[in-house]
């Protein structure tokens, strides 16, 4: 017998409005699970990528920089902004004990006018001492980073061999970095000579005013990898004590702020999913119960016509399967249509590292949502199916139910 000719199918299509409401409800439950798990999974992947990407144990910045409102985002996530300190601080820090690797960085933000291809954060680094940028180069033209060469983040639609202009200076794209899910993906890295040239050019164009700051003798941030045999806290305390007018931070502590936000968002998503599910389960249970209760006489007639108890409960369970399966598949499709194409918007709205999980992980999330939604629907209908299989036919047909 064709599915469309079955009693369950006719019952489902015959009560169009009721079935549609139940399908929408199941779709909502499935969409909440798939969206929630994908968002939480993307946030975790983003945080892991950020942790791996930073590489340094300690960051040293000018003490005055800490008061900047988006200071952490500038140093951690590559948001636009800059601050400077004299290069002599770099030498003072490098002279301290317990430092295995040390590398300076110099920041500059490009403008959103004709002189620049795109407004973004430009980070000058020293390729000879660097240990945080080079390991993340995904595609490279090969060779050393020459003057006027730049390394671009993964979210920039320029490719190795293209050119990009900042403050009227045309730079060659020499390499592209891996994705992190943060603003670091839209940052541009270049060597110290090039960024100083860009700073000079921005001043000449009247786009920036640096006052007494001499770009040739300035750095924005110093990245440190602690040597074996020393603890990070030990080196950190030493730097904060002996190198004045600077502030040293443990990168792990800085990430803990991002991590706390991630936990907050995850909890909120968990509460929302739980609310949708509690409401959904109650409504599904009541809907199946009332639907079956209202059709007692119909089932009693079927029973007297020779349908077994198993057959009656089978009809109810098949109806539930049809409704929940249609709803769950639709909900998952809607959820994927929201999360996958609009992941950029979600990242922007949350302001947290957001990196979509791999395709197999997304598939597992969708399969999980399908299983729990259909499972919940079937469990909601199971009680009604059991009750209908135990009806007293004579009593119901006499009207004394």
């Amino acid at each position: 017998m064709k599915l469309t000719e079955s009693l369950s199918f006719r019952n489902v299509t015959g009560h169009g409005a009721r079935s549609l409401i139940l399908v929408i409800l199941t779709a909502l439950m499935a969409a909440s699970v798939v969206c929630g798990t994908l968002v939480v999974s993307s946030l975790r992947t983003g945080l892991e990528a950020l942790e791996a990407r930073l590489g340094a144990d300690i960051m040293v910045v000018p003490a005055s920089a800490v008061s900047k409102h988006n200071f952490e985002n500038i140093v951690l996530q590559g948001s636009k902004g800059y601050f400077y300190m004299d290069r002599s601080y770099y030498d003072k820090v490098a002279a301290r004990e317990g430092i295995e690797k040390i590398s300076p960085q110099l920041f500059l933000a490009s403008a959103s006018s004709g002189c620049c291809s795109v407004p973004l954060q430009i980070i000058g680094y020293d390729p000879e001492t660097d240990f945080t940028v080079s390991p993340w180069i995904k595609k490279s033209a090969g060779g050393e980073l020459k003057d006027l060469d730049v390394v671009v983040g993964n979210d920039l639609s320029v490719f190795v061999g293209n050119t990009i202009t900042f403050y009227g200076v045309t730079c060659n794209v020499a390499a592209k970095l891996d994705k992190t899910g943060t603003d670091l993906d839209t940052a541009v890295y270049t060597n110290m000579n090039t960024i100083r040239e860009l700073i000079r050019s921005s001043v000449e164009l009247g786009m920036n005013e640096f006052g007494k700051i001499d770009p040739d003798n300035s750095v924005s941030c110093i990245l440190i990898k602690v040597a074996d045999g020393y603890s990070v806290d030990e080196v950190l305390n030493d730097l904060n004590l002996h190198v004045r007018r600077t502030k040293s931070f443990k990168t792990k502590d800085m990430i803990s702020g991002v991590s706390d936000s991630l936990i907050g968002v995850s909890d909120l998503i968990g509460v929302l999913i739980a609310a949708v599910w509690v409401l959904g389960l109650v409504i599904l249970f009541l809907a199946f119960y009332m639907s079956v209760n209202g059709r007692k006489k119909e089932f009693a007639v079927l029973r007297t016509a020779g349908a077994s108890r198993k057959k009656l409960s089978g009809i109810v369970m098949t109806e539930a399967l049809m409704i929940t399966l249609t709803g769950a598949v639709s909900g998952i499709m809607i959820g994927l249509l929201i999360i996958l194409p609009f992941n950029g918007l979600i990242e922007e709205s949350l302001g947290l590292p957001f990196l979509l999980p791999s395709l197999p992980t997304a598939f597992i999330c969708a399969a999980f949502a399908l299983a729990v939604s259909v499972g919940a629907g079937m469990i909601s209908a199971a009680f009604s199916a059991y009750r209908i299989s135990r009806i007293d036919t004579g009593l119901i047909l006499r009207g004394d139910n």
Binding site: A111, S112, S113, G114, S117, V118, L120, D155, L156, S157, V158, I164, D183, D185, T186, L337, P341, F342, G344, L345, E347, E348
Partner: protein, 140 residues
């Protein structure tokens, strides 16, 4: 009620086409002008999608008027390639801004692609249903 059921394809297509046409200029418009007043690439993608959106709206209204006739099916089929072009406009035919975290990448492109795919699928299904109901070689 029966009349509405017969024209449901046309109604859905008209709503989606209008959403694309109006949305691309309002809710999911591309990035604004630069500080110096010049426009970025994505603006021209927005203009192109707006133009295609108007054409899609006209086609959808024709589908709505002709309902379940083969003319309606033909109009419905015409919406499929038009919607495909709309989807490809911000996804390769016209380059958007350089940074993929900009509004045109995070909002305009996905919204245009999702709506265009929905229009193409609805139009194709509507045409298939009409052809199936009217049968081969006979017009209603």
């Amino acid at each position: 009620m029966k009349k509405i059921r017969e024209r449901i394809g046309g109604i859905v297509l008209t709503i989606l086409s209008l959403a694309l046409t109006v949305g691309v200029k309002t809710v999911f418009s591309a990035c604004g002008p630069k500080d110096d007043g010049s426009w970025m690439n994505c603006h021209w993608a927005e203009q192109a999608v707006f133009g295609i959106g108007i054409a899609l709206t006209v086609i959808s209204v024709l589908v709505l008027i002709f309902g379940k006739s083969r003319t309606g099916a033909g109009a419905s089929l015409a919406a499929v390639p038009a919607a495909a072009i709309a989807a490809f406009t911000p996804a390769g035919l016209i380059n958007l801004c350089m940074m993929t975290n900009m509004h045109c990448h995070s909002v305009t492109r996905p919204a245009v692609i999702v709506l265009s795919v929905l229009i193409a699928v609805t139009a194709a299904v509507n045409a298939a249903v009409i052809f199936r109901k009217t049968g081969r070689g006979q017009d209603k």
